[in-house]
Symmetry: C2
Subunit: 307 residues, 2 copies
């Protein structure tokens, strides 16, 4: 298996490294050459332009784009398509709205290029644990990209779901469930902190880990986040690049998801309410996805500790 | 370690069996003698009355009550206290509101009996995987009951949290998070089923299991429930014995838990909305807790399949 890979961010770089280590020949390109240089040391073949990347691929090209959804992905797909010919394959791994995948599929079809949308979950831990892949597109060609899927995913961790858009859709639903799980953990930790007797929050989340009904990876990461010495310095601001895409997904299927609605409202709420809960969600997102958190200055932090 | 144990329901019977297998001498009593007979075959010492149970215990008595919260637990604690003396220990493992544990603690103190409230999680799987124990009460005597905790819990799965009430409180918060997790899974499965292309629900939940961000025991059980041939016969009615206790807990701490509020509203809603989601929650509760589900008659089921 050989493929070109565009976009070496947190997710992309780990994916390329995992594939390279498992025998996939990956020609990797990133806009900023530093990341390309870095991935070359992890076993990928560096390319410092789209032309160079295409030139280093075999006759039948497979290209994977892994960029932020929206303009960046749209522009890159248009650019890459200029270099592809009938029968080539384009895989998009962005966290994109499924209707955009349908649009990308139409553009590809016009050129005879085969399109797959592939939702990817695993965050910064995917390099080690494997990436979950949720794939949509032309089933008759799925076998052509399956070796890359096997390299990326853990056992049982990839699946084909249906026509173009199905992969991004299933990934969006995964993220909707993730929002609700995080909201549940945030509410739980908030309630624990409101009790008349002081409850050791980390003792509670860690005692739940081995055998309780709510044992889960996000619970493990909650315990980990609560144990960091600077946890209370984290600003209660929950970033999210996917919130609009998830709301559009829910609405597009006429969906009913009231707990998800609560979770999105909390993410948008900039009031001083639910501070511990928001801080926890920001901290856990940092644990699994490497998503940036803001930290209060050390002065502010000292002042808080003195209170 | 020796103790008397009252209440051999789904949870209690498994707990007694696990303790007996791990070297705790358990004298077990249940109102209906059939369950007592059954547990005698699993290594416990049977008792067919409170008197008999007390008589078979050593001089310093430790008694564990494991009955439904409310009248059944209140009555039994009053009854058992007649047989206990200063320095004896009473542990209550019901899913009870923490203020009731505080009341039980006061009644016990009047007689010089040491009270512990112990929240227990693990459902029908606890016998095999161990039970999570969340304990409140008099810390200076905690070591006296710790051997039983070690026998019941998996490694790292029990902890002391604070004065009487703290154990039931932490267990209630665990259940609040559980409600939100289940609601999130139900919303996710509902959305998957609303997509324009048919999505294989079980394929989606199972591909999420090995490495996705939402991997969790409840997700595993969702996959298991969706795989049962009679899944679609399950009535969309979610039983819950704990809903009032959880709402009282949340309100008592002035708590903010809007996703939990959504989950409780869905459980109370008897309309024909969110049918698949309600069915899923009922089915998963059956998977982890052995909670009863109603099934439509086979005729109704056939009719549904013909549609």
């Amino acid at each position: 298996m050989e493929l070109g890979f565009i976009g070496l961010g947190r997710m992309g770089a780990g994916m390329v490294e995992r594939m390279a280590k498992r025998g996939v020949r990956v020609v990797a390109y990133n806009r900023s050459p530093e990341k390309t240089k870095r991935i070359a040391r992890k076993g990928a073949i560096p390319a410092y332009g789209i032309d160079e990347m295409i030139g280093k691929l075999p006759k039948r090209r497979i290209v994977w784009t892994m960029l932020p959804a929206g303009q960046a992905t749209d522009d890159m797909i248009n650019e890459v398509l200029k270099h592809l010919k009938r029968g080539d394959i384009l895989i998009d791994g962005a966290n994109d709205f499924y209707e955009n995948a349908e649009r990308h599929d139409r553009i590809c079809r016009e050129k005879g290029v085969i399109f797959f949308d592939c939702g990817v979950s695993g965050g910064v831990w995917g390099l080690k644990n494997g990436y979950t892949l949720m794939i949509g597109g032309d089933k008759s060609h799925f076998k052509d990209i399956e070796p890359a899927c096997r390299a990326l995913a853990p056992k049982g961790g990839y699946a084909y779901f249906g026509p173009a858009g199905s992969g991004h859709f299933v990934k969006s639903v995964h993220n909707i469930v993730e929002y609700v799980y995080l909201q549940g953990l945030a509410e739980g930790v908030g309630l624990l902190s409101s009790f008349k007797h002081p409850i050791d929050l980390r003792k509670a989340t860690s005692v739940w880990q081995p055998a309780s009904v709510i044992r889960s990876w996000l619970l493990d990461l909650t315990t980990s986040a609560l144990g960091k010495p600077d946890f209370s310095d984290i600003e209660p601001k929950i970033g999210s690049v996917t919130i609009e895409e998830l709301e559009r997904t829910k609405n597009a299927v006429g969906g009913y998801a009231p707990a998800f609605d609560v979770a999105t409202a909390i993410r948008k709420d900039t009031s001083g309410n639910f501070v511990l809960g928001k801080r926890l969600i920001a901290a856990v997102r940092n644990e699994f996805g490497g998503h940036a958190v803001e930290r209060s200055s050390s002065t502010a932090s000292k002042r808080r500790n003195e209170r």
